[in-house]
Structures are given as structure tokens and as C-alpha cells.
């Protein structure tokens, strides 16, 4: 067994991807100038959030997200042992490394952390209410941004006689900068609470593990999990719309399985029109829901691809017609949660323990709604709006001949978009031919070629020498990276032939045929009774959970969004197996043991 992963400097560029480094800003690359640092760290690939190659603009969220995380750990809260997380892009994939705090500073950090984090825990509800207002205002600001082609001449009243002294040329640049600023602000907000939420959760987690060394991680998650969770709301809305369709007698419109035709039929009746109105009500905001992690421009968003929610609604209509009850049994879920809490509490050694248990559980429950819900507000809702606005801008450039289609804009770095906008502004102001139409199409084509070449590269799971033991608490919780998983990546451990190991994220033991899918576009291939094998799953896949027997993913920890949703749907799940999609092929019979975190290929 090897004791280390390759150095980042030993990874070769895949054929046809030469020059890929130009697609990303220089600080995001491994650099010779800081080689000592690069080689001294243990880097793991973040397949939980970035399982695919990032196009140049898409790297924006990778950079904004991880920087915001780091800043809160290091500069805002002073999480005692953990500084931030350094990030790099290699062959189009994101790699991370947790940076520990200097032990000499820990004493001061503890004092600061207790003061700062303590304030947040004490005032959590107030601050969370403020967060909700902030995030909703931010989405509104994003929505108010519009990118339109620059006018032949400015409006006399609005622009000239108003005395504004500013026109559309300035405005379009400002709008783009605002969009980028709001994106960074969004990610600052994202991490305002998240690590604190995890810290309180880990504290309860640690207490449970001390009292009951063998308690399954899942049992702890169950005690903390919310019952009414915004992340499940989009799925709930689909079920509601299926019921409305049946109750108002318009369900037949969905049998044609064609969005346009369905809409035609619906528009023909009052009841159908009422249904459409009801759909639109649900759609904002709940169908700003990505079929992926929300981090890629190509992930489909329900509200822009109405066939996706329509298909799911049709599936639900069929289930309702077959007499299935789709309602989440809230009372039963609450009762089960109370039972689990009550029984563990009873098993504790003393009343003193029971008191501490209740206090820690109480805090974990106060903070946990944020952990569960932020994902909808940030990665789904806000990102959906950002992708939409970016495509609108992309379209403006298409009209000017800068490139062929709106999505080509994502093959520019975020800084390059400013250059293109400047070019457009200048050529509009003069007027004169823009340089862009002769510059960008070739570059966009080249970069598309590079991205395709990079897609064929299977990212190595990690780089550099792993520490003897993985201790950084957020790394374990969020990315599912433990000393065990690192050992198994290195080809060691006690894994048997034909067996994969991962996190026991949701319990149960089933056997069935595998369906391996690599991108969200393939989810329609999934058949009833199959076991889903994917790099990761997104919360928006919930409707297919009624079809499948179990889920196996390459990446993800106990608290990955996929794990939260799997538990909600009571499906066995093994996450963070590392190699499931490359080891298993569609049609193979596999056994998924969600109690022990193993996946076995039977035949």
C-alpha cells in the first residue's frame, strides 16, 4: 500500500487539455513559487460540491465559497484549532486542504471564539431572522438586475433630462460588478452561521458518542433533524400540485407527456388555468431548484425546465391514482423523533447526564434548521437567479457576435467578462467594430475542447501525504473524509474484492440492479426498483427516491445534503465510497448495506 498520494506537480495534463491553466485565475492554481507549501499539504478533491470539471466562470462560486468559509473560521470567529481551507484547481477539478491554526495562538483564539461564537449561540433566533431578511433582499437585488443590449440612443427623459449624468453603458458594467459583488456577499452570508451550526451539532454528537460509544451517527442525526424543512418544500409542492390536478379534474392533461401540449390543454379550461396559476405560485421561489449541486451553469433548474417538475408531478399523479398516500406523516415523524430521544435519554447513566443531553440537543436543534435550509436559499434559489442573469448577459453578447450561444459566457473567467463588457462599451460609445467577435469565439471553442478533454480525466481523490489521522471536524462532517476513507483510497484497509466502503449515511440492507449515472441529465433513465449509483445526489432528486431501492455515492459525509434527504425518504444510503461510479456498471446486481456502509457487487 502506498503511503502518499501523488504530488500536485506530478499530475499530467490530459491530452487535448494543454493550456487549461489559463481558464482560472492564477491564485487558484498550484504554483511553483509556493511549492514547499503546496507539497507539504494533504489535498482532497471536493466531489461533494464540485464533482465535474469547472468552466472558467463556474470557478467563481468555488473560489467565493471556500474563501468565505475560511474567513469565518480564521478572521471572524477564530475557531480555535482550525484556520481556513486552501483551495486549488487542478485539471479543472477542485482540491481542498484544511489549514490548522498555529498552536501558539490557540489560547487567544479560544477566548475570542467563546465571546464571538457565544454571542451567536445566545442570539441565534434573532440573528437567523435577520439572515432571512438579508438573503431575501439579496435575491430581490439580484432579480432587479437586467442585462439588455445597449440602446441606439439614450432615452431623453430618463437618462438625459433627469440629470443623472450616467447612461446604459455605465449601467451594464455596474450591473455585472453588482452581480459579482452580490455573489460574494451571498457566500459571506452562507458561512455566517454554517460552521457554528456544525460546531453545536458536533458537541451534541461528541456527547452521544461518549455516553454510547456504539450509537450510530444516523441516530444522532435523527434526533436533531427538523420536521418541517425548507429543503423538502419543492418536493412537497410537487405533491401538492399533483393533488390539485387530480382534485380539479385536470390530471389527464399530463398523460400527453409534452409540456407544450399539456399547457395547451390546461389553458383550455378554467380549472386548468387555475392549476397553472397555482403552479406559478409554487414555482417562485420553490422551483428555483437545481438538478445538480447548484454549482454548475449547466445544471438544469426546474423553473427554467418545466418538463422536469411536470414529469415528477405526473409520476405523483400516477401514484395518487394507485392509492398511494404521498403526505409526509408529520405526526409520525415527530413521534418517532421523540421516541428515539426519549429512549436514549432513559439509557443514560444519571440525571446529570440527562440534563446535559437535553441542553446540547436543545442547542443543536436551535442551530440545525440553518444547516438544513441554507442550501435551498443559497445554492438553489440565489444561484438559480445568478445563472439566469448571467445567461441574459451572455445573450446580449451573442447578439453582438462575441460568441455563439448564451452559455458560452461561462467559458470566460469572471474577470474576463469585465474585459468583454468594456470592449462592448467602447465599441458602442465610439461606435466602431468591437474586437470581441474576432477574439472570443476562437478562445471559447478552444476552452470547450479543453473542458471536454478534462472531463475524460478521472480526478485522483487526493494529493500529497495524508496526516496520520484526520481530525479537522468540519472536513469529516461535511466531506466525509476520515482516516479510513483515505486508507481505502490508498488501496489499503480491510476492503474485500468487489466491496466498496463508505459512510453508513442511512440504514437498511437491500439488493438490486445498479443504475450508474454521471450527470443530473440522466436521472430520467432511472427505473423502478433500481439502486442509484452516482457521483453525488442533489436534494432535487427527491421525487425519484420513490422509485429506487437505495443510493450509493462517490462522495459526501453524514451531513451532505444528499444524506439528509436520503434519511428523510428512509432509503438505505452509502455515501463517500470514492469509486462507486467507476467500479459498478449499470445492470450489475449489488448489495447496499446502509447499516455498515458497505456496497458489494454480487454479479
Amino acid at each position: 500500500m502506498a503511503d502518499r498520494f501523488p504530488s500536485p506537480f506530478d499530475i499530467e495534463t490530459p491530452e487535448g487539455a494543454e493550456g487549461w491553466q489559463e481558464m482560472y485565475v492564477y491564485p487558484s492554481l498550484f504554483s511553483e513559487a509556493r511549492k514547499d507549501f503546496e507539497e507539504s499539504m494533504f489535498w482532497f478533491q471536493d466531489g461533494v460540491h464540485w464533482p465535474q470539471v469547472m468552466t472558467p466562470w463556474d470557478a467563481t462560486f468555488f473560489e467565493f465559497a471556500i474563501t468565505s468559509l475560511s474567513q469565518y473560521n480564521t478572521r471572524h470567529l477564530q475557531v480555535p484549532p482550525a484556520n481556513g481551507i486552501a483551495f486549488r484547481i487542478l485539471n479543472g477539478y477542485g482540491y481542498l486542504t484544511p489549514v490548522p491554526a498555529d498552536p501558539a495562538t490557540i489560547e487567544d483564539r479560544v477566548a475570542n471564539f467563546m465571546d464571538r461564537a457565544g454571542f451567536y449561540f445566545m442570539n441565534w433566533d434573532d440573528l437567523y431572522d435577520k439572515w432571512m431578511i438579508k438573503i431575501r433582499n439579496l435575491v430581490q437585488e439580484l432579480e432587479s438586475i437586467n442585462f439588455e443590449p445597449l440602446p441606439e440612443i439614450e432615452d431623453a427623459d430618463e437618462v438625459v433630462k433627469s440629470g443623472a449624468g450616467l447612461g446604459s453603458g455605465y449601467k451594464i458594467q455596474e450591473n455585472y460588478r453588482t452581480l459579482v459583488d452580490l455573489s460574494l456577499k451571498l457566500w459571506n452570508y452562507h458561512f455566517e452561521f454554517l460552521n457554528l451550526g456544525y460546531a453545536a451539532y458536533l458537541d451534541f454528537f461528541g456527547f452521544c458518542k461518549q455516553a454510547f460509544p456504539g450509537i450510530p451517527d444516523l441516530a444522532i442525526a435523527k434526533m436533531v433533524a427538523g420536521v418541517e424543512v425548507d429543503l423538502f418544500r419543492p418536493d412537497e409542492e410537487l405533491k401538492r400540485l399533483a393533488r390539485v390536478a387530480l382534485d380539479s379534474g385536470v390530471a389527464d392533461a399530463f398523460t400527453v407527456k409534452d409540456v407544450e401540449q399539456t399547457c395547451q390543454i390546461l389553458k383550455g379550461t378554467d380549472a386548468g388555468q387555475a392549476w397553472i396559476a397555482s403552479f406559478q405560485e409554487s414555482a417562485e421561489p420553490w422551483f428555483n431548484f437545481s438538478t445538480g449541486s447548484g454549482f454548475y451553469h449547466q445544471d438544469k433548474i426546474w423553473i427554467e425546465n418545466v418538463e422536469i417538475p411536470f414529469d415528477f408531478i405526473n409520476d405523483y399523479i400516477i401514484k395518487l391514482q394507485a392509492g398511494e398516500d404521498l403526505a409526509r406523516p408529520m405526526e409520525a415523524i415527530r413521534a418517532e423523533r421523540d421516541r428515539v430521544v426519549g429512549e436514549y435519554s432513559e439509557l443514560l447513566a444519571s440525571d446529570e447526564d440527562r440534563e446535559a443531553f437535553q441542553a446540547k440537543l436543545g442547542l443543536a436543534r436551535v442551530v440545525f434548521p440553518y444547516v438544513e435550509n441554507h442550501n435551498f436559499y443559497v445554492e438553489h434559489w440565489s444561484h438559480s437567479v445568478i445563472w439566469r442573469k448571467m445567461r441574459q448577459l451572455g445573450e446580449v453578447f451573442v447578439k453582438e457576435g462575441f460568441w455563439g450561444e448564451a452559455n458560452d459566457i461561462f467559458y470566460l473567467k469572471r474577470t474576463e467578462v469585465e474585459d468583454a463588457l468594456w470592449d462592448y462599451y467602447v465599441s458602442w460609445a465610439t461606435p466602431e467594430p468591437a474586437a470581441g467577435p474576432g477574439y472570443w469565439p476562437g478562445l471559447v471553442e478552444k476552452r470547450k475542447g479543453i473542458c471536454n478533454a478534462l472531463k475524460k480525466w478521472k480526478p485522483v481523490p487526493a494529493l500529497g501525504a495524508p496526516p496520520e489521522i484526520i481530525t479537522e471536524p468540519f472536513t469529516v462532517m461535511l466531506w466525509g473524509i476520515t482516516s479510513d476513507s483515505v486508507t481505502s483510497w490508498l488501496g489499503g484497509g480491510d476492503a474485500k474484492e468487489g466491496e466498496l466502503r463508505g459512510m453508513a449515511a442511512s440504514p437498511g440492507l437491500v439488493e438490486g440492479p445498479a443504475r450508474v449515472i454521471f450527470s443530473p441529465d440522466q436521472i430520467s433513465e432511472i427505473q423502478q426498483g433500481e439502486i442509484l449509483v452516482a457521483p453525488l445526489t442533489a436534494p432535487s432528486w427527491a421525487p425519484i427516491f420513490g422509485k429506487i431501492l437505495a443510493t450509493v455515492t462517490d462522495t459526501g459525509g453524514m451531513m451532505s445534503h444528499a444524506a439528509i434527504v436520503c434519511r428523510e425518504y428512509g432509503l438505505p444510503a452509502v455515501t463517500g465510497t470514492g469509486f462507486a461510479t467507476s467500479t459498478i456498471t449499470t445492470g450489475q446486481r449489488i448489495r447496499v448495506d446502509g447499516n455498515n456502509g458497505t456496497v458489494t457487487i454480487i454479479e
Binding site: 475557531v79 480555535p80 484549532p81 482550525a82 490557540i106 479560544v110 471564539f113 467563546m114 461564537a117 457565544g118 449561540f121 460546531a199 453545536a200 458536533l202 458537541d203 454528537f205 461528541g206 456527547f207 458518542k209 461518549q210 455516553a211 454510547f212 460509544p213 456504539g214 450509537i215 450510530p216 444516523l218 441516530a219 435523527k222 421516541r339 428515539v340 429512549e343 436514549y344 439509557l347 443514560l348 447513566a349 444519571s350 446529570e352 447526564d353 440534563e355 446535559a356 443531553f357 441542553a359 446540547k360 442547542l363 489521522i469 484526520i470 481530525t471 479537522e472 471536524p473 469529516v476 476520515t482 482516516s483 440504514p507 440492507l509 447499516n595 455498515n596
Partner: protein, 359 residues
Amino acid sequence: MSATMWFESYWPGLKAEVGGKAASLGEMTGAGLPVPPGFAVTTAGYRAAHDGADLDATLGRLLHGLDVSDTGQVSRVCAQIRDIIRAMPLPADIETSIRTEYSTLSARCEINDLPVAVRSSATSEDSPDASFAGEHDTYLWVRGADAVVDAVRRCWASLFTDRATCYRVEMGYEHRTVEMAVVIQKMVRPISAGVAFTLNPSNGDRSQIAIDASWGFGESVVSGEVTPDNFLVDKVLLEVSKREISHKAHEYRLTDHDSVEKAGIDPERADAPCLTDRQIKAIALLAKTAEKHYGCPQDIEWAVDMDLPEGENVILLQARPETVWSKKPRQSVAGGADKNPMASIVSTLMNPLYARKDG
């Protein structure tokens, strides 16, 4: 009072009529502790048979003037009484009732002439019968209705052992008032069997149930001859959290002649898990129920019966208090230092769980 009672129908008001043994089996069945299924012939059944055969007259005649110091006479008279009881005809309704219940039990197990254990069940804890409970008879591997009825009479006859009879005479108890109930219970024929603790014996974790299991009768596990399969089950979620499957080289199993033999196991079966997940959960639930019922950690013996339908085939053979961890004082987790929630969170972050040995 009817002549028979299924364990499921027991309630405490019946204790006097069914005896201690049947009452305990009935109570366990009612508490969700599945003992081998069966029924009792009540004292009413005995009384009806007693009266039908006019035993009062026989007893009065034979026991009149019995000299308890004359062991020869006692032995001769008691043997004579027992012979009479063993041979006495049963009233038709009583006999039909026993035969019907036996055939119902056989049908439930889907076996003709189901092998059963027939045991006496003393009717009153403070009556002299109780002192001789050990002497009352037990008949194992009884097959067929004729043999069952016969074994019932033999149990009844055991009321008149020499010692019990002398004791009654010395104490001045009336022979004709003594009564006896009889238990008829399926013989367990285990596919697999073993033990279970309602805590983890290696670290005392009360949230876990530890199960040791092997093929065949439980002797191989109890004696330690075989390294059993070992399962840890979470007590609250009832999910298997750890499983270790061992090579189980041999088992104790039944021969065709209702005796037990030690036999090798073919390699494939030896390495296969001897329990299904459903069975593991049923055993865990059984252990958890026993702990709740008896109010302290339990050490139980169980078997998976080959004749009972899946879902009803996990049987409790014995439950007793766990003695090792139960005697140790329990360690509190919330040490004084953790009182401040922030201090606790800091210590969680500084000393992450995954860095700990048992993490």
C-alpha cells in the same frame, strides 16, 4: 373455567387454575416475550377427570390409615394410586379438548404429531405442591395426541409421589383437594440459537444489544466450543451496527430419533451468517422487551425455531439479569467542566472525536 388455556389467553386471574409455570409462560407471552407456543390443561380439567373417575373414593379407600413411617407401605400404595390415575379414563369433553388444542398447535407449526414437552405446573406457590415442583414430572419429545393425553395423566399422577403424599399426611392436608395443571408446549427445534446481552459486554454501552449466534442448539455457543457470529444492534433504532461472521465448524442438531448429536457443518454454511437481518432484529427486540419487563439489563438465551413461521420463530428460552456491568457503578459523561456550553463546544473542536481511539 374451561379445561384448557392458551398462553396468549392468560391473565393474572387465572393463576390459581393454571399453576405457576403456565402463569409465567402466559405472562411472558403477554409481555411480548415469545416462549415456545403452547397451552395448559387447567385444574378444572384435572378436577373434571378426578370427579369423572371418582378418585375421591379411591383415594379415601387406599390412603385410609396410611402409616407414613412404613416406607414399604407408602411406596406400594402410592404406586397403586399413580397406576390408577395413569389408567383412568378422561371425560369425553376433557379429552376432546386436549386433543383439539394439541392438533391446533400442530397445525400452527405445520407438523403432524408435533413433538411437545408436557410438564406439571404447580397451582399454588404456598401449597405443599410447590415444595415438590422439582419432583413433578416432565416429559420431552412427546408426539401424537394419545401420547400427550397419556403424559398429562402421568403428570397428574406425580401428585402422588411418596414424598408428596407423606408430606400431606403429616401436615394434615386433604389429598382430595390437591390439584394440578399441566403445560403442553412445543419442543424447540432450533435452526440457530445463542445468547444476547442488553448491553455491549466489551464496554458496557447500554444503547447496544450484543448477540452471539451459531447453527443448531445453543450449547455450542454457551459452552464456547464454536466461535459464534457476533452482532451488535442499536437498541433504539433496532438497526444492526456491527456484524462479524465466523467459521462455525460444528453444531448440535436433532437426529431423526429426537436425540441431539454433534455434527460437522459443510464449509459454505459454516461461513454463512446464521441469522437473517429480520431474525437479528427480532432477537434484539426480544432482549429489549425482556430488559424492560424485568427492569434491569438481561442475559437471555434464544433460538430460531425451524417449525414456526418467519416473524414468529424467534423464541425466548431463558432470561436472567446481566451480572458483570450491572454491578459496576455507571460513569456519568457530563463531568462538571462541561457545564458551560461554550467550554464544551471548544473542547469538542479542540479534541475532535475522530482523533479519539474509539471514534
